[in-house]
Amino acid sequence: MLLDFGVLLLYIVIACGFLTAALVAGRIIRPNKPYKDKLTTYECGEDTIGTSFIQFNVRFYVIALIFLIFEVEIVLLFPWAVVYKNVGLIALIEMGVFILILLAGFAYVWSQKDLEWVKSEIETEKEHGTNL
């Protein structure tokens, strides 16, 4: 087993090595003539307005939060799934309880509209807007 992890490590090292080799090989043959305009950030041909390191929408954060809980749950369920065949009914029931409790949370989050993306909140405004 340790050997197999060794192989994994080897592969990661080789992947990085391959990339480095390709970049070094590239460095030798490719041209390198940077100038100021070439090194500007792409913003459709105009000068950038403000910084790009911006504060982002909170929506992503909430999704990541919900995801994390489910991820932990899934990881916990993996050992269960593996032994499921041998244990049988008890496993089914126990897991049913486990999942149902979490599904309650899922239902709560759903009902509280935390699964919605930005769209829903602007829907009302839009309907209002059409009645000019």
Partner: protein, 438 residues
Amino acid sequence: MKEFIEHLYNELEFLEGLPFIIPFIIGSFILAFIIINFIAVFAGVCTYIERKVAARIQARVGPYMVGPHGILQWLADALKLLFKEDTVPEKADKLLFKLAPFIVFAGSFACWVALPLAPAFSPARLNIGILYIIAFGSSVILGILMAGWASSSKWALFGAMRSAAQIVSYEVPTGLTILAMLLITGTLDMHNTIAQINLDGTISGGQSQGLPFPLNYFSTNADNFSAGMFSWYIFRYPPFTFIAFIIIYICALAETNRVPFDIPEAESELVSGYHTEYSGMRFSFFFLSEYANMFVFSAIITTLFLGGWLPPFNITGSLLAPACGIILYMLVKGKTTDPANRFIAFCTGAGIGIFLGVLSGDKNYWFADYLGIQSLRFIEGLFWFFTKSFGLVILMMWLRWTIPRYRVDQLMELCWKKLTPLAFINLFCIGILEWLYK
């Protein structure tokens, strides 16, 4: 890999006394080198095929200048990328900008370690195979986030955030579906997953098992039925395993950022998404890992649902399939000039051949067994594994050129409000069925 080296030890005398680890490392190194080149070539060939598929769908020719039918186009592209100037934007966070391709590429490359490429053959046999693959697959997100942030471009950041949110979300239904399949397979080791399928339609290990759920209605005597592809997990508990297959395929599309879920690099909105600022070799590694990821996901689906390296039909079928196909092709050839129609004719013929083979009751599945050369199983297994996985990759391409793209909120809705509940229900149903029919 380990088995192979052990085999070498038994065969070659001069290895005696040498610590096992040395040939092992050397062997692994060589294999890794082969695989990494294979990925590079694979991605290249994929781009060529994708362009040809697209051209076919879009009623145009596609690449045809470099080499016969343009088959060397990908090589020319690769060379071009090598010769391209590598620009790093002035405002970028240069360290992270340069680091990001490494993480993305290493992450997707590391997934290949545990893929069951052929019977008893994969670079490393991890007994947490599938869990390991999805774990490393998810580490690609960080590379993407890093690339998007370090570029200091708004479009790149938009793309990266979208990509991360998307991949992260679709991991939930993917995980749940894999769990559902694990209930049937009962092992995380991807080799065991396939190895325990018997071609007569049973699954070895545990108590004695009859035919799976749908097939026991067709046959009263299990011995008379040649199951072949019907022994794959996708046919285990229809329709639930079908649903699982569809869910995971949709998720695979989403996790590899393919149409209709290519919003992270939607060119009509975000220009090019998280790799907007990358050029030359660095860009090509994002590209490479995208194709590598496509294959990895297809390989996971192949393993879990489509019997991995198992041949789908028996010898009679595999002999009759091309024969019938060619006969029908010949019949149609004079009547139509459209290559698509000819292809359809060939496929129909092959289908008839397979059907006849299934009816024949032939119990030989491995060509290698038929010829009496056991070691041929390796090549045969490789062939089937790559054929199946590649079929799924082609399907991804086909979809890409057919349908429009989802919007970010629709994508999230599909994931959280449709696929996730469906995957939960599926998990329960398969759990109950597995308990009933165990």
